[in-house]
């Protein structure tokens, strides 16, 4: 019998079949056959491991996968690459490519206007000039820091001019349509900013100074749109913007560099607020309305 007993490490590796090459494995096995002390030691090891085997793993249940999907769906957000990837390889058309929302383009904008204004009004009025402009801006988005022109347009939508009650109401509804299109651009920019934040690669330190800067601009823009939505009698839109503002403010007022745990908290809160999901539902309703321009319900529901 070999005077050198097996080491604990040899026993552990032997148990997992990782003792080494064939000769080594055979020598360990041979020693074990002949040495009761080492065999007893191995038995003790196996008892400990069999206790470990009793570790119960909770079963999250049949519907767990569906629940997981529901939780992550808002963040799937069309599979955009993280903003770092995008900066590395900018694709000019990416923002409109493969989008589920059809925000851009005069036709879509007209439909949105009709959707909110009702066909009665939309058939009488040409497409508002602001609409294509708002659509265009989305392609060249990201000059953060400039005053959003859309917000200025919105600033002028307060019912200022005197007119007959009916005409004023109609005009208001058309403006609401313009508002919706402009808000769509804002929502899209916000969604992009928040999605990128949520999908930022994690690391010991996460630098979100860029997202934070964008969030600050978006907060200012958001406030104008929200006030306008309220003034235009669009409580559903105003409510959505209210929710969005909370998420944006959190990012805008937070630090620009976070450690991983801080970043995870922010990210989780955004995901749990479901704001990306709400924006998307909003977008899908508009998209549905696109297919059925006469539908009178929708956003106000």
């Amino acid at each position: 019998m070999n005077l050198n007993h097996l080491t604990e490490e040899q026993l552990v590796l032997h148990h997992y079949g990782d003792a080494g090459d064939e000769a080594e494995a055979a020598s360990v096995a041979g020693h074990l056959r002949e040495c009761p002390a080492c065999q007893a030691e191995l038995d003790g090891l196996l008892r400990a491991l069999s206790a470990a085997n009793q570790l119960a793993v909770p079963d999250p249940g049949e519907s767990y996968g569906a629940r997981v999907f529901a939780r992550i769906q808002p963040s799937l957000a069309k599979g955009w690459p993280g903003w770092r990837d995008r900066l590395a390889s900018p694709k000019p058309g990416w923002i409109l490519a493969g989008r589920r929302w059809a925000w851009a383009g005069g036709a879509a904008a007209l439909v949105v206007a009709a959707f909110v204004a009702g066909d009665r009004v939309a058939h009488r009025q040409p497409a508002p000039a602001a609409v294509p402009q708002a659509a265009q801006r989305r392609g060249t988005e990201a000059q953060a820091g400039t005053t959003p022109t859309g917000a200025e347009e919105r600033g002028s939508t307060a019912p200022a001019e005197p007119a007959s009650a009916v005409a004023a109401a109609d005009r208001e509804r058309v403006r609401a349509g313009v508002l919706l299109v402009a808000v769509s651009g804002h929502l899209e920019r916000s969604e992009v900013a928040l999605s990128e934040l949520v999908n930022s690669p994690r690391g010991p330190e996460v630098d979100i100074s860029e997202e934070r800067g964008r969030a600050r601009d978006l907060v200012a823009e958001n406030r104008l749109y929200r006030q306008t939505a309220l003034a235009a009698g669009e409580p559903a839109v105003a409510g959505l913007l209210d929710d969005l503002e909370r998420a944006l403010v959190e990012v805008a007022n937070g630090p620009s560099r976070m450690n991983e745990a801080e970043f995870d908290r922010v990210r989780r809160r955004i995901v749990q607020q479901d704001i990306l999901f709400k924006i998307r539902v909003f977008g899908e309703r508009v998209r549905e309305a696109e297919g059925r321009p006469a539908a009178g319900s929708g956003l106000r529901g």
Binding site: L3, D18, E260
Partner: protein, 208 residues
Amino acid sequence: MDDHDAHDVAQARAGSELAFRRLVERHARGVFQLAFRLTGSEPDADDVVQETFLKAYRELKRFEARSSFRTWVHRITVNCAYDMLRQRPRHRGESLDAGPANAPAGGIELEADGTSWPDRLAFGAEIQGRVRAALDLLTPTERTAFVLRHFEGRSLEEIGEALGLRTGATKHSIFRAVQKMRRALAPLVDPATPGKAEQELRPFQVQP
């Protein structure tokens, strides 16, 4: 690879969220169980599951059908869980080294000498608690290596790849993990040697 998976992966890569949803629904439970073993906590495992599928969705185009979707997604799970373990404050556990005093009298043989069912159940719960505490003593690397080798039956090469370790270091991590587990669980499983001190664990070992 599983036919359903292959089909759904292809569809998901072509942009079908529905196909991706099917993949999530098919694999979420398995991913959860792996994540739970790795993290030892339900909320943490939940977070790992979400993180895993978000990452899988974003990286689906990089998935090569050489491995099964399950293997691939479990690899992502291991990475996410490992990240989480490393960022999570080391909590619990540390006091367990002083633990034999907290252990119930006797060892596993309690079950054999006529204890009633409720006692056995309580003892089962005690084992659960001790095993969890023992796992919490491990470093993130030891824990991940141990879970993958012991519960998941992964090869040393796979584990080394997941953790960025050479085979020798992987072996050592597994050994250290088992050693710590064994010491932590000794009061439960080695009733004959209840007060065994660490240095006595291999009293008969002779240096080669």
